[in-house]
Subunit: 189 residues, 2 copies
């Protein structure tokens, strides 16, 4: 919520203009990739995404929360390249139970069976990247609402809601000028 | 070269229809991402891409050739998701010197100062993923031509030409039906 976590305008605008990110995890010196629908969290330099627990990328990020992301356009000409590369760490906010009837009245507490994550789930020998912060239920529900307002289909599909805390971002925009890059790094990282 | 390396039709078609891939490398248990312009190599289940030597992703893949890729569209609705996730290993085919005058007559041998890679450059303690195969100059030049015919701007920019040998691909296409997936794996991997 601190202003120190605000992203530079062009980076924030590019991230807000898109909604699909390539997300990389790693295990045993091998990277893995998936694509996720994301929603930026205002003023936190963080993104929300939802994924199923049984997927390989969720299993990998539960063992090692370090991830990297790429968001880009796909222009024919190099002169029109725009994209973001980013790194950060992931924490789970809770599980959202799939709803059979998406028309039912919306009540966060009853609709979503959120089990707020405890730190012990994230212990790993990798390093200390597992976020020490504990999310309270109110915050988790607010963030679930933020995500599901943008992607209502998530209510029907269900899954785990993750928060990706961004530590580093490189923004490339050749339309500004060839080779234009802007780098943001979280203070203290 | 071998029919065993042919990709299933829908996967090959999707890869051919696109040209920008999110490419993930990894070092010290941290994944990294970049975006590259790729060209499929017919009948080899492999992709070509060009990158500058000084980039972080090239430094990382020279230390560990295991990479993962994601190619996707960015639809608003989950029902229109299409994308490929892939893993494989990378080998360098050579360096392409940037041309100042892209209108000069095209002569592979004189235009491109290709230094065919030797295996010793790729030694690593990671594992035996470093491809043992040596590329001869004719093959490297043919592949450089394949890449540069598709992306002529590479002649002006220069860089190292890499071949990504695909080992595993998962293709998702919700337009066929929700949750449709097709998996391809290289024989013997």
């Amino acid at each position: 919520m601190s202003g120190a976590f605000e992203l530079p305008g062009p980076i924030a605008a590019f991230i807000a203009d898109h909604h699909v990110m390539a997300l990389a995890t790693t295990r045993n010196h091998r990277p893995y990739q998936c694509s996720v629908y994301y929603v930026p969290i205002p003023d936190e330099a963080a993104l929300l995404f939802m994924s199923a627990e049984q997927t390989r990328h969720v299993q990998e990020l539960r063992a090692n929360p370090h991830v990297a992301g790429a968001i880009h356009v796909e222009p024919e000409r190099v002169a029109n390249i725009q994209g973001v590369q980013l790194t950060g760490t992931v924490v789970c906010l809770g599980q959202l139970t799939a709803m059979e009837n998406s028309d039912s009245s919306f009540n966060m507490n009853s609709v979503f069976n959120i089990e707020v994550a405890t730190n012990s789930e994230y212990y790993s020998e990798i390093d200390s990247a597992f976020e020490q912060r504990t999310f309270n239920e109110t915050e988790a529900l607010e963030k679930a609402s933020l995500y599901l307002d943008r992607f209502p289909e998530g209510r029907r599909i269900g899954g785990s809601l993750f928060q990706l805390r961004l530590d580093w971002i490189k923004y490339t925009d050749n339309r500004i000028r060839f080779g234009f890059k802007q780098i943001w790094q979280r203070e203290g990282t």
